[in-house]
Amino acid sequence: MRKRGSSLFGAVLRYLLLAAMLAFLLFPFYWTFVTSIKPESELYGQTVTYWPQRATFDSYAKLFLEFKFLKPMANSLVVAAATTTISLTVSLLAAYAFSRYRFKGRKFLMTLFLTNNMFPAVLLLIPLYAIMRKIGILYTPRALVLSYTTFTIPFSIWLLSGYLDDLPTSLEEAAMVDGANRAQAFIRIILPILAPCVVATGAYVFMTSWNEYTFAVMFTNEANRTIPVALRNLIGQLGVQWGMLTAGGIITIIPVCIMFFFAQKRLIAGLTAGAVKG
């Protein structure tokens, strides 16, 4: 601000740097999209084209008609929706307890939930596979929902109790003075204010379940594979079907991006709150 003389050069440099950074971060998406609308002949041609000479949606048509992409999409939707509902319900209760009560063992229990996110996925993956095989739910959507709650519940509790901590307790206390009990005060007063934060947490849980691959590839079979597994399956023994694969990729990230744009403000506030405090 103060040194106006040198700031023009600085500003140009900053814009160039920012442009380069954005180009790096966004180019893969551009390239995926361009690939998805190229005809087969252009994909594996002599020269690489940066915009298709003849744009076509053949890959998308093939993806849905031949590869039956709707099936994995439906599977992913079921798993993500169930995971989100269960995680939010269970976590909201626990988060309320952590935020509004001081009780014996609180710190221990909080640590217990926090440590949960530290376990490597591969550590849980193998015994879970053996357990699910034994109790007979391997290769069902339940196996995925169950394993996804290993990381979504602790994370949701952490996020939600952060949001709750920011709400003054005087709100509920006023309602309780007026004769409402704790549950009524929570439902009538807290929940409406907290709703956007619950939605943001839910969006995050939904996105993580929708995107998850490591558990999905081991716990599903042909009938209930989710999108990430289906995408990977387009890598065949005879080579990769890049047209269909990129088309599937574009379709996969569209819902994620939409959700993210709506949830981002609260989500970012919640994610960064804990770390910024100190």
């Binding site: 900053r14 920012l18 950074m21 954005l22 971060l25 893969p28 390239w31 995926t32 690939t35 594996y44 319900t89 269970v90 976590s91 626990a94 309320y96 307890a97 952590f98 509004r100 009560y101 009780f103 229990l109 640590t111 217990l112 939930f113 926090l114 996110n117 530290m118 376990f119 490597p120 996925a121 591969v122 550590l123 849980l124 993956l125 193998i126 015994p127 879970l128 053996a130 357990i131 394993s147 709650t149 290993t150 519940i153 929708w210 995107n211 691959y213 490591t214 081991m218 990430p228 890598i235 890049w242 694969l245 990729g249 996969t252 991006c257 993210f260 770390a275 910024v276 405090k277 100190g278």
Partner: protein, 293 residues
């Protein structure tokens, strides 16, 4: 703040606790048990306790040591570069300019992209015959022959690092940007009065103010990056010649091959290594919480 002893908090926590105990602590206990067993689903008749045999086998497995070394490099370069470029992006976004909100949102998209897709998108970019990276480098005159990036050990490892860096820049930028916005302007004003240069302000004010957030974010990223399987697996499956096989990927490959006992043994060793990082993380979280209240 509430009545002294109430059953309510315990009741409210019970569902979450039961869920977490069944899907996390039971499997962890199981993994410990399995690590002392010969547990290979391809040879179901041979399942049984074998004592420390798996552990001894792991210590004598050159691929294990190689994967451990790859994990260290993967975390060091992956997280290090994510931090560096994340800081650059955060500093760029911490100024007012037209369209800043939009730029900030779209620069975060890699962070919400599925790991599988990240692996596959970059696999296509790195492709040795039709890949766009080869074409760009050829056009710019940097190379004269196409390079099969993912098919030779010397280039495959840098390629997977580049991909994980791409994935992690937005998260670092997001956290650091939040920290930057919490630094009072007065600090910079005072520095301006003293005639400090931009670089001096960065080293003397910005970085020290962000110390805590850098620490916490880095620890979190170390754990995530070390545990990450999907990106590498979908780029290279750990090859060629095991050059991109980190411990997580090695364990995943062993698990896929249904040698569950051996895989469990290695995953316990990975967990013990990461526990050190996790303890540091938890300590700082609680320190912050107490400071914040």
């Amino acid at each position: 703040m509430q009545r002294k002893t109430s059953l309510w908090p315990y009741l409210l926590i019970t569902p979450a606790l039961v869920a977490v105990l069944t899907v996390v602590f039971v499997p962890v206990a199981n993994a410990i048990l399995m690590s002392f067993q010969s547990y290979d689903l391809r040879r179901p008749s041979g399942i049984g306790f074998v004592g420390l045999k798996n552990y001894l086998a792991v210590f004598g497995d050159p691929l294990f040591w190689r994967a451990l070394w790859k994990t260290i490099l993967w975390v060091l370069f992956g997280v290090g570069l994510q931090f560096f470029f994340g800081l650059v992006l955060a500093l760029l976004l911490n100024r007012n300019f037209f369209g800043r909100g939009l730029v900030r949102s779209i620069s975060l998209i890699p962070w919400v992209t599925p790991g599988v897709l990240i692996g596959l998108m970059w696999r296509w970019i790195f492709d040795g015959s039709y890949g766009v990276l080869n074409d760009l480098l050829l056009r710019l005159g940097v190379i004269h022959d196409k390079i099969p990036f993912l098919a030779q050990p010397a280039t495959a490892f840098p390629a997977v690092i580049l991909t994980i860096v791409w994935q992690g820049i937005p998260f670092f930028a997001l956290m650091l940007l939040a920290g930057l916005q919490g630094i009072p302007d007065e600090l910079y004003d005072a520095a301006d009065v003293d005639g400090a240069s931009g670089f001096q302000k960065l080293v003397r004010i910005t970085i020290p103010s962000l110390k805590n957030i850098i620490f916490v974010t880095t620890l979190l990223r170390i754990i995530w990056v070390a545990n990450s399987v999907d990106v590498i697996f979908n780029l290279t499956e750990g090859g060629p010649a095991y050059s991109t096989q980190t411990l997580s990927v090695y364990i995943f490959n062993k698990g896929n091959a249904l040698n569950l006992g051996y895989a469990s043994t290695m995953s316990i060793m990975l967990t013990l290594l990461l526990a050190l990082v996790a303890v540091l993380y938890l300590k700082s979280i609680f320190k912050n919480q107490e400071a914040g209240r």
